[in-house]
Symmetry: D2
Subunit: 340 residues, 4 copies
């Protein structure tokens, strides 16, 4: 049985496991006040080309999104997001449970167009009833998106421009950031993102770590963030576990290297699918592949390979997702190709 | 200058003012524990044909919606509403500020079709990721809707059937309920609504009262609602003010009578608009009229009559709303017709 | 039967009722954007000696407290209050339902001593674990307190000094403010309060109005307060009802005059109680009188007069509260004295 | 330098690290739907003598407390806790941020006496104003408490009896549960706790795990808990990491064994402190020792050993906390004793 369900089926990259083991019996202060966290933050700042950025570590994506968004918004503000955005659909109402409305814009293959965001904000500002409405207080995007699509550098900069023009922060959910940065053809780098966004997070959980997301913000963006993190139940007691993992991920470019591997594996699969005439639901250059299968073929494949149900295409067809990751072995990719 | 901006521009019906004056120096216990509230509740139960219903009074619409909805939902649940619904757009995020997502369905002239609701719920229940999503925990509709449209009896019963099949309450926002019940051609009565809905409110603020909304629920639907109302800042100290007003509104059918007057005035206007070739944005049989004006005509009219901006139709045209009410004088209607 | 249960048993002062009646059929815009509200705000600013103050109207006390406090605090902050404060005990958790902790200090007859507040804040700031704790973000006091006690001018100024030293707002709940200002021996005026507090409210519900509280804040203290009020369900559609009432209360000093009457009535009762050897639970110079009754006497009195149970003193004695108000008739006071 | 600051300074017990390493490259479904979690749950049920119990895993203590408490309470309810309880003081207002009041009772060395809880609830139920107050909806205790004290079996059963009499759940925070169960002289076992409490958690973070808390509840106590956990940002993507750790902790009684070691180390220190005439701030039979040091001695010790500041005793004395753990080496204990 081959497993291509998702990019968080294994533990951590062996180098991370080794570091965790090596440091296991050291004694450090809790809550991220240790040297490993400091070191990891320094490396992340360097990788972002942002010597002034602030870096925080949290455990998971939903937690990170709701903590950052709740920290950035005032009570009367909401967050603009694509209607397909993770916070719009698949976080069980975490944003609303903090009191904030998700202002959903129709996504374009999972992305928000700068023009759409600007139009929404400008329309709001001209609405005679705007004081009875939720003010757009920030923009949330994911990169890669939930559909594996990527912003171009100019799209990102356009969105950033809109946000700055209206004085609201741009926040990027980078749960799969590594795979986006390693995708072929992208002109977006970590520096691009750090320059365009007021806050973003570098996903660890899906890119080599046991768990962990590194939030990067403009200096001073969120006063008292430590306490806010604690209040959200998002402060890890043994915070160094996050520091050690990100320290390793940002040593000798491991984060990039393992992301590239996942992309290479995905490319091999994409080519194989295309050659065999499979239809793609959406073109994604990342580690996610969305294919439309007829239901019989799907049932047959499912005997030997597991993947994610994505959505119903029509009565006889289904969209499924195949995901590679830092851990995908080429022999498993080849085995899957055999079955097609 | 004529004013047709909204249906809450005056104070209260003279009969209500007289009752408030007559009772002004009486001493009663606070918080709605007085005899006037009891009497009003009894009359409302009778009017609803629901001897077992529970009745509560609150001051305003947003307050009522957010208190009832927060009371009905568990934390992991959201409320289905039309995307044009008052709670979706014009309550400043009150529902989200209580922690709940508004699950917006594309409205059909402001209404939710039973099929759309059923499809949404059924799709949710079949979604493999539903445990990561906000569960639909109730349905919110308004009657009349924000566009002045009305459900038919069978539409209401179909929605009610869907809700019962899935075990979630149906709640109706009746901010302008009187005008809906008095509209020509409707087959919906207060009894229909009481039978179809688990909870609804009879709007007083826009239909003759100084302020006040009467919430009617199935017996036992919301335990500890008194405390929940208090927690939401929605418990009026001198609760009898609500009781007295609703007692009067439900004495000798005053609520119906004054609602009919508003409809009669609106009909007269509708006929006049139609005869003069004005285009309607939407057909509403209630006290609200939505007309498409060319911008020059709008500017000219605006010199002598005030109305509500509704939305931009195109570069040269605007949708405006003209509202009558229990207080609209026929001479003012005639004066407006003169100007057309 | 005589009723001395509370100070909100009647409707409104006859002058207010007359104004409501006179203006009843006028048409004005909603939500407090009318001329009466403007006029009332101007008069309140003048009475406060604060030409720059901002004034907002809400309907009731719990609503006002939770809306103001939620608007003033950031999510990681709590509000310091006396353990006997209204928000600490009798608002059904309204503050917590907005996400904020009430940081209860042991009250001194219902008051917070400046030293206690300073000690609390200073201790917090020195606590090595303070980042894991709720930061004191404002101070809430009531004047008169729930026990009918009053701050002196110097006590108020001392508290104000503490708040300014630590950069947090001081907010005063004036549900019964008129009765505090009219009390004998007080050196606190409306100007004193406006100078000492960053925000406070002038209670109308218990002092002559049908309902209504006027919030006064330093200019610019709460951006977007209109929307916040709406979100809290606290925006009255026919906002002019609040404007008209406060306009009348601040015309020819009506607010002061009717407050003085209540105090005069309370004084007469206090003297009568004292002369007859009744014991006072607490010395209050306001419209509230707290007496310790033996339970037999209480049962006997209760046949002819209603009052509030306050608390159990011991097995055989009970503390009860007798309240006068702007509406108390001297003949009823005399009748009560007869019974003692 | 010796470190006795806390019981979460190291990573995980070597047996846990080995299991994590062995299983690292296995592929499993996420979110705790894997076989390791199933196995761990079965072992925990057995250890609790509760074949019907439900078991859930979360990452940290504050997260667990706020998720469980928010799930158990209705909006109008609060949680009774000792004023020194972790949720009362050191969780940054996490409970309030979910909308609930912590109803703080004066603790008795960190514990709540059954009589105090009963008195609080009974007083509430008799209070004429109770509908304006926060209803006690559950009881929170910690065992060991924040002061290292322990409930006896009969104290626990008495509290449990009170809760059952009033129909509210009893919830126990077992962040350091292992150290409580291993303490000398205790008559409380895991079975006792499972029988007395409706919900509790077995702390892993401080007792051998990298992180993780296992929540045990009566079957059916919290419907839809998976979604609630997700909404709180508390659902770990690679849920098996929790399953593997707890599986190992409950294999061959590892949890008990390593807890006993911590207690043995603490006992050795306690005897040494006592013999040298040190004063104890509180008698704790667990892994925490609270000693009163004069400030000079403290400064001297601090050169070679780190410990926690607890509180100021008086001008010249300070209470400090010394904590042992599963990882404490006897040679370090001896080294500390040398310094005394």
């Amino acid at each position: 049985m081959q497993h291509f369900d998702s990019d968080y089926m294994e533990g951590a990259h062996p180098r991370i496991m080794r570091r965790l083991l090596e440091t296991n019996m050291e004694k450090t202060p809790g809550y991220g006040l240790d040297g490993y966290c400091e070191e990891a933050k320094a490396k992340i700042r360097r990788a972002c080309g942002s010597p002034d950025a602030e870096v925080y570590f949290m455990v998971g994506g939903t937690q990170t999104n709701s903590t950052v968004i709740d920290a950035l918004l005032r009570n009367y503000e909401g967050v603009i997001a694509a209607d397909t955005g993770h916070i719009s659909v698949h976080e069980a109402g975490a944003i609303e449970s903090c009191g904030h409305k998700v202002l959903a814009l129709p996504g374009r293959d999972g992305k928000i167009a700068a023009d759409d965001a600007e139009h929404y904000i400008a329309t709001f500002l001209k609405d005679g009833n705007r004081e009875h409405m939720v003010a757009p207080g920030m923009v949330y995007i994911s990169h890669p998106t939930e559909y594996g699509t990527l912003y171009t550098r100019s799209e990102l900069e356009a969105l950033s421009g809109v946000c700055r023009r209206y004085g609201i922060p741009l926040y990027l959910d980078g749960a799969r950031l590594g795979y986006g940065l390693a995708a072929m053809g992208t002109d977006v780098t970590l520096e691009t993102i750090a320059a365009a966004c007021d806050a973003f997070y570098i996903g660890g959980t899906k890119v080599g770590a046991l768990f962990g997301e590194a939030v990067v913000t403009r200096r001073g963006l969120i006063p008292h963030f430590f306490t806010i993190i604690k209040q959200h139940g998002a402060l890890l007691a043994k915070g160094r576990l996050l520091g050690i993992q990100f320290d390793e991920l940002f040593t000798d470019d491991l984060y990039t290297e393992i992301s590239r591997h996942a992309i290479k594996m995905a490319e091999k699969l994409r080519v194989a699918f295309a050659e065999r005439g499979y239809r793609f639901h959406i073109q994604s250059p990342t580690n996610q592949i969305f294919i439309i299968l007829d239901n019989e073929k799907m049932a047959e494949l499912a005997k030997n390979v597991s993947f994610s149900f994505w959505e119903t295409a029509d009565e006889n067809h289904t969209v499924v997702r195949i995901a590679t990751s830092w851990a995908t072995r080429e022999e498993d990719v080849d085995a899957l190709i055999e079955m097609l």
